[in-house]
Amino acid sequence: MADMILKKNALGDFLKSLSGSYETFGPKQEDGEVKFAPVDGEVLLDYQNSRLSPKNFFFPQSERMLEFSADPAAEDAFVMKERPAAKQARLLFGIRPCDAKAFAVLDKIYRNDQYTDNYWFDKREAATLIGLACNRPCATCFCTSVGCGPFHEEGLDVLAVDLGEDILLKPLTDKGQKALDAAGGLAAADGKAAASVEKLKGEAEAAIQSKVAVDKVAERSVMELYEADHWAKVAQRCLNCGVCTYVCPTCHCFDIQDEVSGTAGDRIRNWDSCMSWLFTMHGTGHNPRPDKTSRVRQRFMHKFKYIPLKRGGDIGCVGCGRCVAQCPVNIDVRDVVRDMNA
């Protein structure tokens, strides 16, 4: 697999040529927002990350899982049936390395030693991801502190780097190579291009000002971190609104609900949030996480302690900074982690 060069002014044609084999998506400006939308050629290259993470592609906020007939007269009344899996090959162009790393984290969540979440993997495996390296990180980015970076390749099939006049395309998987083969019209990259990538990468990493250390979090026991007294301080201003969980690329908790309309029934899963009191509420009225403190603690502990502990060391945060930018009361995950690591 060799690095390829695409003339920037040929990007539109490149994406168009892929739309034959893939349903193609990319970053676009819509209502003043960056969103991942179907592309017909035009995409943004120099953009701050999208407000919501692209996890919606593989983990839609609401997704029908199963369906059933609620017609008592039907032969198969109230028997749950699978829906045909969506196998349409999709290509996501221009997602940021942090979001791709988040997919890699979620791959480990949605498949454990016993079970595989088919809804995630059906869509995930049918998708090809061409990531776009971050030449210009935002002030809220801290990816380099959590095992990620502006040119991080994990989770991607191709890494694209904006070199100014050209775009370098670095295939990382067979799936990525296949996409590049399907597009054609690319030239081989030379040593000069490789040197520019290294230079841009160095500059981008240097531009990330915010750093947090997580080494002590790894060393400390669950209970030591859990019982620390800084949680009450964080919780005092937390609204438990859950914006952080909804914008987060690695938050993956969900609720399962049944809905019936006439004789059509669906079992649906929806994003859920550990910030909600209802999340853990028992039918008996007992709530294991009864207060704001325990709920806000859960989110940070889950990302920075429980996931690394359970999933081979990887931190469940990719440093995208969305929660930092969006929290209505400015609870900054970087500060919280500094407290955990203090």
């Binding site: 003043g32 609401s62 002030a139 609204l239 609104c241 009191w277 900074g321 930018a325 900054d332």
Partner: protein, 315 residues
Amino acid sequence: MDKRTEKIREIAKRLLSEDRVDVVLGYGPGTVPLRNAPLFARTPEEADKLIWDSNCRINLANFLPRTKERVAVLAKGCDARNIVNHVVEHQIKRDQVYIVGVPCQGMLDPEKVQQREGRFIESAVESDGDLTVSGPGFETTLKLADVLRQNCQTCVHRNPPVYDELVGEPVPEQTDIDRYADINDLLGKPDGERYAYFQNLVKDCIRCYACRDACPLCYCHVCFVDEHMPQWLGKSVDPHDVLTYHILRAFHCAGRCTDCGACEAACPVNIKLRQFTRLLEKDIQERYGYEAGMSLETLPPLTVYRPDDPQEFIK
């Protein structure tokens, strides 16, 4: 330093050192430009971190219900009205809360600023009605008045109607403001267009309920969206459920909403939630001559009635 910042610190330190209150609820600097954080000052040292600028959007009245402490709260006009609401609705006792009123000239809308350089903004400095934002390779100065939130631009109660102490002198109230021009426009359109407008308005909603959680009015132990048996609405992003949520939430704010804008400030997807609440605000003003939170003596309009209330639509 803003003169009000100095004064606020002075008041807070006095209240804490004289043991008048257990905590002063104010604002501290945030970790990102254009965003302050609520600050709970319990010692004079902590009170020294309090600040005042045009990013004190969060409505601190939201933190009052169910609090056991004696609290001093920094309150803009709208916030003070929400505190009045809380007192009237028995969510907090008047003598438990010490209202530090801050005459307000409007809070800025970070979205309006970010339209220019977005998250690349690394610093934002205010002085004399100007806002200078800068980041890698740029520096722009804007007029604060141009980037105020819409509810602040049309605000007619900048001074707290009820307070224990005022920070500085009252500011002149804005007059000749048409608060409801856009609402009236909308009402002039056919119902089908209005329906489409509201469908579109909430299409990005992710049901995070940040609007509810940031709202001082929403202090219910169990919100109707969390009820089951019966479960009033589905939990998905089905457009009907989303719109139902917004309609009912707005209705629950009827006669109580002070148009503080906390909901819009908290919304992660920029839904103009006040389009719902302002209709009711306008309606209540026109039909019952009531404005929320203006006095401790007046009861909210849905808890009282007049025998001759308008009923032109009832057969």
